[in-house]
């Protein structure tokens, strides 16, 4: 799974109010080349939680993203390439996503997060 997916996922255990963003425990990450598409990045940007993406990138030891994005940066190919790399080319293959409130671990195996809840969590 990509950091884009991580940016969208939230813990929804019953009673949890601060289930976002999930912390990343990575035992294996992979880099896979994905075609660059500036238009997509500009469109997706407003939907992202930038702070969560920035923290996720930092927790994986990736190149640092700026704290805030100026509109002019979305026209800057250099920046967009870095944004593209972090958002779409880094895959969490093995590890877990951890709920920040309860500490519940959602395992990630073969790049697929298992977000199923137990019966006592719904």
């Amino acid at each position: 799974m990509r950091l884009l997916t991580h940016n969208m996922l939230a813990c929804n255990i019953k009673g949890v109010t601060k289930g976002y963003p999930l912390k990343i425990e990575a035992t294996k990450t992979e880099e896979k080349e994905t075609d660059f598409n500036a238009g997509f990045l500009r469109h997706i940007y407003p939907k992202l939680d930038w702070k969560a993406l920035r923290e996720a990138a930092a927790s994986l030891g990736l190149e640092e993203l700026p704290e805030q994005v100026e509109p002019s940066q979305l026209e800057d190919e250099d920046f967009l390439r870095r944004f593209h790399h972090v958002l779409l080319e880094i895959h969490l293959e093995e590890g877990a996503l951890v709920c920040p409130e309860t500490g519940r671990r959602f395992p990630v195996s073969k790049g697929i997060p298992n977000m199923l809840l137990n019966e006592d969590e719904v």
Partner: protein, 460 residues
């Protein structure tokens, strides 16, 4: 038609009801398209496009060389079979065989056997078979079986062209579809016997079951599907029992009006056909997400994703295991939800499905972007139609269009929903199991939710 620059006529098939999507694709992708007829999933057209261009069509289940369409086939056994036997005489074989040769240059078949020239005899006569699918919708039953119909059709063709019959090692396959008193005859183009051997060597798609049923009938299904145009999609490696055809998935994506930058989600994706088709077709201009509950299907979706990445250049797509009635997903982030909701006898019990449907709808409403979000749902049943018109779903969605499509003889509804601006309020989940609590309530027990009765969601 100008001779030499136009081939066909072709017959292209798709799920009945989705012809418009196919017609649109034909017009936008192929040169010199002339549509001769189109109804009930069968579209006949000619084009100057090359076979490669036709093979790239996504809305078509398959492409055949069109032979003939006749109405008024007698239902009675003797007359009906005699009628079918005589049909071979009326077919323009020259055109059809020219098209066949253009598609299968490796298969030697003689040009026009009736020329009776000595050079005609030296060329190999192709072995052939006839496959017949037959059904009656409005009229009484046919007096003959599909096997008999295929046999007599074949007898006519064999007598005219001098081709020997072989049911297993054939070079040419004729497909006959008899619906009521109409017969549509076409010639398989995509699959030469050589290609078939290759396909079985690499193994047909693993069509294992989804709901713990026995597997044997799927062997036949896999064989049938491997001859279809859509089975050549790179991501089509692992199937579940109720896999959607990629051509239908493509049509649903078109109906959803996907645009660049969109987030596309299928919360009940099975082996991932819809999001994988979207990622394959729209490429890096969109992001697709595939969610599924069942472990087996999730694993298959993961393998299909990997196969798609190996065999093509799809856009970003990820697979997630989840429960669609409780999506672990941020609000207002999705532009298009496209889903083939569970239906039919192969997919759980209707009662179970109907119970979860309202919660799935509510979750879809929550994650869609209000105002601009759209959902295209494939589902079946009166209960589902009623749910769409009930509060609060009625407030969240504008039902733009509902129509039926014919999927291998089963009528299924396509609902196109426009997300309204109405906010989805997620109530705090206070008790572990509200369903049980409410059933107690109905029996007159105390309201255990601790909320005023008005707060208890009547939908869930």
């Amino acid at each position: 038609m100008e001779a030499g620059c136009s081939f066909g006529p072709y017959l292209s098939t798709c799920a009945g009801g989705l012809e418009n999507v196919l017609l649109q694709e034909l017009a936008s992708r192929l040169y010199g398209v002339q549509v001769l007829s189109s109804h009930a999933g069968a579209t006949v057209f000619s084009t100057s496009g090359r076979p490669e261009d036709l093979k790239a069509l996504r809305a078509a289940d398959n492409i055949y060389a069109y032979l003939i369409h006749k109405e008024g086939v007698p239902l009675d056994k003797e007359q009906g079979l005699a009628y079918l036997q005589a049909i071979a005489m009326e077919i323009d074989w020259g055109r059809a065989l020219a098209t066949f040769r253009q598609w299968n240059p490796g298969v030697a078949i003689i040009a026009w056997p009736s020329s009776n020239s000595s050079e005609g005899c030296s060329a190999a006569l192709p072995r052939f078979r006839v496959t017949c699918e037959r059904r009656t919708l409005k009229l009484p039953k046919h007096g003959y079986t599909s096997m008999e119909a295929a046999g007599w059709l074949g007898a006519g063709v064999g007598a005219l062209l001098g081709w020997p019959v072989s049911m297993t090692h054939f070079d040419v396959e004729l497909i006959a579809t008899i619906t009521d008193d109409e017969v549509l005859l076409s010639l398989s183009l995509l699959y030469s016997p050589r290609a078939k051997q290759n396909a079985s060597a690499t193994g047909p798609p693993d069509a294992a079951n989804e709901m713990g049923r026995e597997e044997e009938p799927l062997q036949a299904k896999a064989h049938h599907q491997s001859r279809q145009l859509y089975s050549h999609r790179p991501y089509r490696s692992d199937l579940v029992r109720t896999s959607l055809k990629p051509s239908t998935a493509y049509a649903l994506c078109q109906l959803a009006d996907i645009r660049p930058g969109h987030v596309v989600l299928d919360p009940l994706c099975g082996c991932g056909t819809i999001p994988l088709e979207a990622a394959d077709f729209y490429g890096p201009s969109i992001a697709a997400f595939a969610g599924e509950l069942l472990e087996d299907a999730v694993a298959k979706a993961g393998r299909n994703l990997a196969a798609g990445q190996q065999g093509g250049r799809p856009g970003p797509c990820d697979v997630i295991r989840w429960d669609a009635t409780r999506l672990p997903w941020r609000d207002r982030t999705v532009d298009r939800v496209i889903s083939d909701m569970p239906f039919g006898i192969l997919c759980g019990s209707p009662k179970e499905r109907n119970n979860v449907f309202p919660s799935v709808l509510k979750e879809i409403a929550r994650v869609l972007v209000p105002g601009t979000g759209r959902a295209v749902l494939l589902c079946q049943g009166r209960k589902v139609r009623a749910d769409l018109k009930r509060v609060p779903t009625r407030d969240f969605f504008l039902l733009e269009k509902t129509f039926s499509i014919d999927m291998e003889g089963i009528l299924v509804d396509v609902h196109i929903l426009q997300r309204t601006e109405v906010e989805v309020v997620v109530k705090p989940r206070l008790t572990p199991n509200r369903r049980r609590d409410r059933s107690r309530q109905r029996k007159g027990a105390a309201n255990l939710t601790g909320l005023p009765a008005a707060f208890v969601d009547p939908m869930e």
